[in-house]
Amino acid sequence: MNVPTDAYVALSGVLFAIGAMGVLVRRSAIMVFLSVELMLNAANLAIVAYARHWAGFDALAGLTGQTVVFVVLAVAAAEVAVGLAILIAIFRDRASTDVDGLAEVRL
């Protein structure tokens, strides 16, 4: 009944790898962005699993881990807003979000 922490971390690793695969194989920038969101959530799952694990020893450690995930959620929200704005700007200029031809954003 009590699922070990390793199982959650393994699931997190699999999800992260699938997201990384999406970043590699997708060509539309929005789809790449979607895969990055998947990777972020996989990392969050690992943090929450470890928070539960350490809560068996220290109450403050568990709650701090969950709060870190909360902060990561806020950062992800800001990242999505700015990233989608940049994508819209690129799309209006090029009528495409194909990452193969994106040379304008290079410094």
């Binding site: 959650y8 194989v25 962005f33 959530n41 969950q66």
Partner: protein, 197 residues
């Protein structure tokens, strides 16, 4: 354990749908399903407040933003146009090898799960009160930095969109921009169509 297996299967299938489905809207909806299953997983990990926030912020706000942009831009999958023919399968193989390697390493450890009674006592179900204590105590600096980051994000998004609104209402005059807006417009001009070519 059965709950975890069902959730894991749903999440992995949803994640594969994000990567493999052709239609972008289908992929986004698949990610919504994965995020909802992840919220249920948070409940099984005694993080009830995070589960609620996950549904509201991620599956709600962020994914609605994604779907809105997808439908606004009408992104289409352009079909196969490969310069390196073996790249896709190399990527699949790399992902499978990485996933199995990480999973094996994680399972290899074999520490027992913590006592659920102690976890419940310490976490209190991951309530908003406990998270608030940690957020305004130990992570106060992170809280302030996130505030600055959100303000920066709002200003950046508005600056990117405002340039577009001006050029949509007629040709922008070079020196006619009101003071205080030139910095944002100059930053956006590098990406916009109104810049000199």
């Amino acid at each position: 354990m059965a709950t975890f297996v069902v959730l894991a299967v749903v999440m992995v299938v949803g994640a594969l749908g994000v990567v493999l489905l052709k239609q972008p809207v289908h992929a986004a909806l698949s990610l919504v399903g994965t995020l909802l299953a992840l919220a249920v997983t948070y409940v099984t990990l005694e993080a009830h407040f995070l589960a609620a926030v996950q549904v509201i912020v991620y599956a709600g706000a962020i994914m609605v933003l994604f779907l809105f942009v997808l439908m606004l831009l009408n992104v289409q999958d352009a079909g196969p146009r490969r310069s390196l023919p073996g790249l896709r399968w190399a990527a699949y193989a790399a992902a499978v090898v990485t996933a199995t390697a990480i999973a094996v390493v994680a399972f290899w450890d074999g520490r027992p799960a913590p006592d659920p009674a102690i976890v419940s006592l310490h976490l209190q179900g991951g309530s908003a009160g406990g998270i608030g204590d940690a957020l305004f105590g130990e992570l106060l600096l992170a809280f302030h930095l996130v505030g600055v980051l959100l303000l920066t994000g709002v200003i950046g998004a508005v600056a990117l969109v405002q340039r577009r609104a001006e050029s949509a209402h007629g040709a922008p005059k070079g020196g006619g921009l009101p003071g205080g807006r030139t910095a944002a417009a100059g930053g956006a001009r590098a990406l916009g169509s109104g810049g000199p070519r």
